[in-house]
């Protein structure tokens, strides 16, 4: 552990607010936050959280830096992002291992998360030469009409524990290419990965003679989070977290006419049709439901399976679950590590109790694995008689609910019945069924897949969902537009002053 921390400049006690190299801010009144290894419960290192005073310093720097950063040509900004991607390549192994150490996902997933950061940097470098605006034909003679995309300002990024670094990079790399600066409030469960990333950013910024492009403010949501969402100097807040918190963020930011990008809860299902390739379906379900210990926004939480294959599919899923090695996430061969906190274990156990009260039958797992550590649990399968209230709720744990259907219309109805709308999938070999699922009478989610699962999105596509998932889009495609402000321009290159709609006024 010490080797990883040393490579990433993590000290025993770390300042929790920063604007660049030599600009770590520590207030003696700042409260201490201890980061724990979820596998052992042992403390890893401490962070002095941001106070009002240090938060203020961070914001001032971010706002100040924006004034010069926005004037750098976008391709020049892209060069800084390119160097950030390169620095992340060089730190991939220790940073990925720190992700594993601090939040408990397996090492392969920790490394994969850093690869995602590298990928989004590559994407943002290309984007820095493609921030296109449209040109429209004016209805007035000798006029030219077009639109430009301008940087917005200092942007608040509030991320969650489950992707402690990748989600920041989806926002920060794109925002930087767009000419924005960012202020990052990471989850209080994963402050050290954020500090490690900030050190990497500091080196890259210093190499370019910059400060304040990437900024950090670690602290409780009730302190730093509330300050950010009510801060008029942050025109955009990108928030990743629960629907309940998203509602609070959305209301606070809307009150001051700020903008939000919301990536909130999911309750993702896979429909398995009677004609599906069950071998593929089972492998996908296993990764989707057990990967990251069921703590992804896109984790598979519901299986809606055709009655004709329900028994066989259930048997195969159980067999696959029996092979899952649970334990130290750093060890080769482990497929599932611990849950992030003791509270997460409590939440899972309460959900299982409620599911049983609502007629659910636990057909696999359901227990704590205290021999391994206080935060280890069995991945769990619950057969439900119907889609009861607990199934409508997202529980951030490896619980998989099984439901059956008779015809595809019923499957889609069950699928869309939940309030969330993030990711969805269908397994079928029938083209018509697949197209129906992807059509506007099919899945109501932001992500809909055929013969691949609900989790494991690529950075090239826009990531986000509908309904209570919040409607925001991050990462690829044209999600960059959310980080810029659109300006419509008209230039009159004649000596006349024609009005639109043919209006005559004072002629």
């Amino acid at each position: 552990m010490k080797g990883i921390l040393k490579k990433l400049n993590i000290k025993e006690v770390n300042a929790g607010a920063c604007s660049g190299q030599g600009a770590w801010y520590e207030d003696p009144e700042g409260q201490e936050l201890i980061s724990h290894d979820p596998s052992t419960g042992e403390p890893i290192a401490k962070v002095i959280q941001a106070t009002d005073k240090t938060y203020e310093k961070v914001i001032e720097q971010a706002v100040l830096a924006f004034k010069t950063w926005r004037m750098a040509p976008a391709p020049k900004r892209g060069q800084v992002v390119r160097d950030l991607g390169q620095a992340l390549r060089e730190s991939k192994e220790p940073l990925g291992e720190l992700v594993t150490l601090e939040m408990g996902k397996i090492r392969a997933e920790g490394l994969g998360e850093v690869q995602e950061m590298i990928d989004i940097c590559d994407f943002a470098v290309g984007l820095s030469r493609q921030l296109y605006g449209l040109t429209m034909h004016s209805e007035r003679p000798a006029h030219r009409m077009f639109e430009q995309w301008h940087p917005q300002g200092a942007i608040g990024v509030i991320s969650a524990f489950n992707f402690p670094v990748a989600v920041w990079s989806w926002n920060a790399a794109i925002a930087a290419a767009c000419g924005d600066t960012t202020v990052w409030k990471p989850s209080s469960d994963t402050p050290l990965t954020a500090i490690a990333v900030q050190h990497i950013c500091n080196t890259v910024m210093a190499d370019h003679g910059l400060q304040g492009i990437f900024n950090l403010a670690i602290g409780r949501g009730a302190v730093v989070g509330e300050r950010m969402i009510n801060d008029e100097r942050l025109p955009l807040i990108s928030f990743t977290g629960s629907t309940q918190m998203g509602r609070r963020v959305s209301e606070a930011v809307a009150r001051r006419f700020g903008r939000t990008i919301l990536e909130l809860g999911g309750n993702n299902a896979i429909i398995v049709a009677g004609d599906a390739d069950l071998e593929m379906a089972v492998r996908t379900i296993l990764f989707g439901a057990v990967g990251t210990a069921g703590q992804r926004c896109t984790s598979t939480r519901r299986i809606i399976m055709h009655r004709s294959i329900a028994q066989e599919l259930t048997g195969r899923i159980i067999k696959a679950y029996e092979q899952v090695k649970i334990g130290n996430p750093m060890e080769e061969g482990t497929l599932m590590g611990p849950l992030v906190t003791k509270a997460a274990v409590e939440d899972m156990m309460a959900a299982l109790e409620i599911a049983k009260n609502q007629g659910g039958e636990v057909i696999y797992g359901g227990r704590r694995l205290e021999d391994l550590g206080q935060q280890f649990v069995e991945p769990t399968i619950v057969k439900m008689p119907s889609q009861t209230e607990i199934v409508h709720n997202e529980t951030f744990a490896p619980i998989l609910y099984l439901l059956e259907y008779e015809d595809i219309e019923e499957a889609i109805r069950l699928h869309n019945e939940v309030p969330q709308g993030l990711s969805s999938a269908i397994f079928t070999t029938n083209l018509l069924t697949a197209e129906k699922f992807l059509s506007h009478e099919g899945s109501d989610c932001g992500i809909a897949n055929v013969n691949i699962g609900t989790s494991g999105a690529e950075i090239g596509g826009a990531f986000g969902g509908e309904k209570e998932t919040g409607g925001g889009r991050e990462s690829g495609s044209d999600a960059w537009k959310g980080y810029m402000r659109r300006q419509t321009n008209t230039i009159n290159w004649s000596k006349e002053l024609p009005l639109a709609q043919g209006i005559k006024f004072g002629d």
Partner: protein, 77 residues
Amino acid sequence: MDIDISLDMSVEEIVERYPEAVSFLSRRGVRCIRCGEPLWCTLGELLHDDGIEDPQGLIQELAEYMRKRRDQAQDSK
């Protein structure tokens, strides 16, 4: 360790100090953590939002429940 819970405590602090509170409250229809993260409000605000009519009574029950769980944990050592 004494159990010290009040309505003006932040949910973040309660979840950190008393993780056992999560399952008790969840069974009463009050969810402190969503998407694995604690909500930012105070316990009082959360209970109000979830329509709990006697919040003071509920936190007394909660404190009692937690004392029992800690005693059980102590006994099993």
